[in-house]
Symmetry: C2
Subunit: 458 residues, 2 copies
């Protein structure tokens, strides 16, 4: 009985061409990570249930894929829970493992578990899939890759500069010009909260302020008031409503605005450190832009906050992000380990490069040479040449059976194989090869040596 094959919602198959394009992005990122001194680690696809649950908020807990225990998993579950169908309470009793939701929590777990083998500051990168039971949409999948680089064990701000350079280097290598690296600092946000006298309103405040472009100062003010932020508070941070100009000008405005907040001023100082040095060192293709509305992972980051947006005109959410977290490993019992890291969203970067036709550089996975199969005697003769070509690293293959010549040539054409080799009884007798250039149609008789020379990577 035939089943109609399909794959789960939000997941994807990748064709050879897609794999090649994805690997091009992976290897670009990997190479830059390593050039910057980062080392790879890998962690298991699933972690213990307790390692992941409670680390991403209520919404995150809901979106984590749980793995059902093996065997008679219901045996020890309380009858009353089952009778009442209390799914939420039953889950931890029938599931001990869950699929990785991001790379940061497993990394924190790794650092604590292996702290005695690690040399701090520890610069690690990790490129692995993560899974979220989210509603799929453009650029959002249930299985997708994150590519993270983090440094733990140092509070030094130089690393924050290096991450700006690292983003710039990767996107420049990918020829993706015009990305914007948005930068903020949690201490700026804390300073603003101090000034408006309402720490609990900070998210409402930044969400509203972020809409300035769309709904104007009046709209933003109204939204803030509706959220319970006082007019006096809004008045105090009025400069944020006309917050523009160069990064230096923005820093000056912030310095004035946050004059009363020690933490806020510390944030300005840290941002200035990054901005000043990047101005001196320069960037290749990205733009660094201060953005006080940037608040991603507010409960998580304690210093720098990064987010990268695609070039203007490409509609895509952020293609990268990160920040500093001063006590991530604390949840696993290791205190006072400061970390800072960034992440690349592989799948979104792929979509952006595709939209902008930036995959020209990618070598598609196909052979350079196909040996046509005219029968066993001829094939046996071809196999000797094939071994030599492969030894020389030339991707090549023999058609696996002596099908009609037209069928074999069609196969070569459709796979866009540039050369075919024709060996019939004459060639075997003369110990030579007829090489056909599939683009020009030209044919020539040649020795094995000539064959090797011509078909060596174009």
């Amino acid at each position: 009985m035939a089943q109609k094959p399909s794959i789960p919602k939000g997941t994807r198959d990748f064709s050879p061409t897609e794999v090649a394009k994805r690997n091009y992005i992976f290897s670009t990122i990997r190479q830059v990570f390593e050039t910057f001194g980062f080392q790879p680690i890998e962690t298991p696809s699933f972690e213990n249930y307790g390692t992941l649950m409670g680390k991403y908020g209520e919404e995150g807990d809901r979106l984590i894929f749980k793995i059902l225990n093996s065997g008679d998993y219901l045996k020890k579950v309380d009858e009353n829970l089952l009778a009442n169908k209390e799914s939420n309470k039953i889950t931890p009793k029938i599931s001990e493992k869950a699929l990785r939701y991001d790379l940061t929590v497993p990394f924190a777990r790794y650092v604590v578990q292996h702290q005695n083998e690690i040399e701090f500051p520890f610069k690690r990168y990790q490129m692995q899939p993560v899974w979220r039971a989210d509603r799929p949409q453009k650029g959002r999948f249930r299985e997708f890759y994150q590519c993270d680089a983090d440094v733990v064990g140092s509070k030094g701000l130089w690393q924050e500069i290096e991450f700006v350079q690292l983003y710039d280097e990767v996107f420049s290598k990918l020829k993706l010009r015009g990305t914007t690296i948005k930068l903020n600092n949690r201490k700026i946000l804390a300073g603003i909260a101090e000034i408006i006298g309402a720490k609990d309103k900070l998210i409402d405040f930044t969400v509203a302020l972020d809409k300035l472009d769309k709904i104007g100062a009046e709209g933003v003010t109204n939204e803030m008031i509706s959220k319970g932020i006082s007019e006096a508070a809004i008045e105090k941070v009025q400069p944020l409503f006309s917050f523009n100009g160069s990064n230096q000008e923005k820093l000056d405005q912030l310095q004035a605005l946050l004059a009363e907040s020690e933490e806020g001023l510390q944030g300005v100082k840290e941002l200035r450190f990054v901005v000043d040095h990047i101005e001196v060192l320069g960037l290749q293709s990205a733009k660094l832009a201060l953005d006080v509305t940037l608040a991603r992972g507010l409960n998580y980051y304690t210093g720098a906050i990064y987010e990268v947006s695609a070039p203007e005109g490409v509609s895509m959410g952020s293609i990268g992000g990160g920040g500093r977290y001063d006590d991530l490993t604390g949840i696993f019992g290791l205190k006072d380990v400061s970390g800072v890291g960034i992440s690349f969203g592989l799948d979104r970067i792929y979509l952006v490069l595709e939209e902008l036709n930036l995959f020209d550089a990618v070598e598609l996975p196909k052979p350079n040479v196909l040996f046509i199969n005219f029968g066993d005697a001829e094939a046996a003769f071809c196999m000797k040449a094939l071994a030599q070509l492969r030894k020389a690293g030339i991707k090549s293959e023999l058609y696996p059976e002596s099908a009609k010549m037209k069928k074999q040539l069609n196969y070569a054409n459709r796979r866009e194989i540039p050369f075919v080799v024709l060996v019939g009884a004459d060639e075997v007798k003369n110990n030579n090869y007829t090489l056909k250039n599939m683009q020009t149609g030209e044919q020539q008789a040649c020795s094995l040596e000539e064959l090797l020379k011509i078909t060596t990577k174009l």
Copy 2:
């Protein structure tokens, strides 16, 4: 509240060194796959429940990791099933997805689903993790990688020869000398079954025969009798009890033994085709050995059967295997697509290479150069040189803060970084760098140009 961190049974973290070693194996296999004309695909980590279940036998079904549905998954489950705690019957109602158990079934699903985009014969490779809820032991994990190459859409035997060459090429490149590629053919087994007149006893027969080395002819005969195989049948296949000599001698023995079985003789012919051509073409480091007790995946393979064993003296199960299956895609509704494929067991190959100290060639992931951080002014000066080094592809880093020099040098030593660059006030003034070779202890003043020249990959 601190949790003591750990990972699920049968899974592993990989340190930078381990990742580098694993990637060395992956990239060796990938390169050979591509040289042989195979193209990569990838499939999702989880498939629909129905895609996987029922494809691997009862034992397989039990070992498949199932993913719990999201939300209130118990809502629609029958109350009586819950009251009786019928785990097995409830599973398909609370789980719609399951983790990939191997790469073959997802590949069959892929071929059927994408049949209109694929050019046949389709030569694909796939290197991805699979998951099994098996009891962990040496060389057996719950998360491990398979590296598969398959050709579908051709019955040609040349591909069976190429797979022997491919195994040999990969293991030779890995410097793993002395592997044995064991070869059998399902048709030989079918022929033996015909001769002993008991198709249903074939597995008992091969299992018993496989013990010949350990328990001798008498022991094997006794075991066969205890399994219900008649003495007359055992008498008929007596030559298998002294089945040795060269592959050619074995083929001659089989030919005589299976003279009455048409299918058996077809198997001899197919094996002979492979053996004869491999003898002419030669192998670099592996040995090809006919093995009539080889019966892996008996219900699955229809022609050639392969299994690779590690060199003698290394105790490890098979490090690879595969075979021909004439109708794999039939389960998904596409009939008459013949395929043949092989698999490499990455994790076991890793253990073998480790045991034999064959990882010398692996470049460990560490920077070539560390810039010591003496303070912000000096670090700023270093950052300019750092950018040049990285542009030249030299892995390098700045210590992220101006810690004590001894701490920074210890860091360099422990990470085995070959060069450190010392920049103090003098160097900034003179616009030069002091380069220290950490192996010899030698120090020298040098220009940026000289620095680049010396630190370029050793």
